[in-house]
């Protein structure tokens, strides 16, 4: 290959070759074929663009991640409150149920009455059975 700068510029077009080779080469796309091909390409481009802009599931998930984290935290706090009680409520012992107080008063009035005590406490271990009698 020569290195005297002969290959630094493009040669001028060769009209004879252009005519001869052009005779046997299929001409470029006809105008209507080019328009049809362009329409097909742009239709595919629009489809691709629509698919590319539709968010994927992980994008949706990422978008809702902050809200989901906040909701999860709130659920944990609420569950804690329900299970272990509010830290703001009183720490004193709960008052006795009124029924328990009334029962204590009756038993106190008849201290030796074991039957009364047993009945009031709901203990039915000594219930008489008709079949147990001799």
């Amino acid at each position: 290959m020569r290195s005297d700068g002969a290959w630094d510029r493009d040669p001028v077009p060769d009209p004879l070759l252009r005519r001869l080779v052009g005779r046997v080469s299929v001409p470029p796309l006809a105008e209507q074929d080019a328009a049809r091909l362009e329409a097909a390409i742009m239709s595919a481009v629009r489809r691709e663009a629509a698919r590319a802009t539709a968010p994927a599931w992980w994008e949706i998930a990422a978008r809702w991640a902050q809200a989901a984290a906040a909701a999860g935290l709130a659920a944990v706090v609420l569950s804690g409150l329900v299970l272990f009680g509010s830290p703001f409520s009183s720490s004193s012992a709960p008052e006795a149920a009124p029924e328990t107080a009334a029962v204590a008063q009756v038993i106190g009035r008849y201290p030796g009455d074991a039957v009364l005590a047993s009945l009031i406490s709901g203990d039915d271990s000594d219930t008489l059975s008709p079949w147990s009698e001799p």
Binding site: W7, G22, V24, A40, E48
Partner: protein, 195 residues
């Protein structure tokens, strides 16, 4: 044929860069002028490579979609054409391999309608056969470079970028191919001059 007819290269770069920016921003319609501008040269490259209209059309469509998918990697300070033709070329080589076509497959020839002069028809047929034969005898690279340069109007630099060759090497192949064709086709110069 100028590949960038009607505007200077700088204008093309600026116009293409602006269009690419709009496409990347989500405006798919901004791709339409680029498709219009590069469709014909891309088809020519595809046709020279595959030797078949339908395959060339499929290739061009595929190349535009590949370009769209890789648009972020395109350097907007450079012309779009050579980058895109390189895609057409490499996809075309892959397609040709998958189609298992021979590189030197005879070209489709333009069919000339017959005339009332059988002698003239015979001469035209002989000329077409000789030209096709001379083209088919060229090494593939030379044949493609002659066609892309002399018929389709690509520059040596554009062909070089497409084929991954130095422009000087492209011009050397062009010189070799032209010389071989001129030798084979010289007898027809007179006939052509008379037309």
């Amino acid at each position: 044929m100028s590949l960038t007819e009607g505007a200077g290269p700088r204008d093309d770069i600026a116009a293409d860069a602006a269009a690419v920016e709009r496409v990347l921003a989500g405006d798919a319609e901004a791709f339409a002028p680029m498709v219009r501008r590069y469709l014909q040269p891309a088809y020519n490259v595809g046709y020279r490579l595959l030797g078949n209209r339908q395959d060339a059309e499929d290739l061009v469509q595929e190349a535009f979609l590949t370009a769209l998918a890789n648009l972020r990697s395109f350097d907007r300070s450079r012309p779009f054409g050579p980058w895109f033709y390189r895609i057409v070329w490499t996809r075309g080589l892959n397609l040709r391999k998958s189609l298992a076509r021979r590189a030197a497959e005879p070209l489709e020839s333009e069919r000339h309608p017959g005339t009332a002069d059988p002698a003239a028809d015979a001469e035209r047929t002989e000329l077409a056969d000789t030209v096709l034969g001379a083209l088919a005898e060229l090494p593939e690279r030379q044949r493609l470079i002659v066609q892309l340069f002399d018929l389709d109007g690509f520059s040596g630099a554009e062909i070089g970028e497409m084929l991954g060759l130095n422009p000087g090497t492209v011009r050397w192949y062009l010189h070799q191919g032209r010389r071989a064709l001129r030798e084979r086709l010289a007898p027809f110069q007179e006939a052509l001059d008379e037309e």
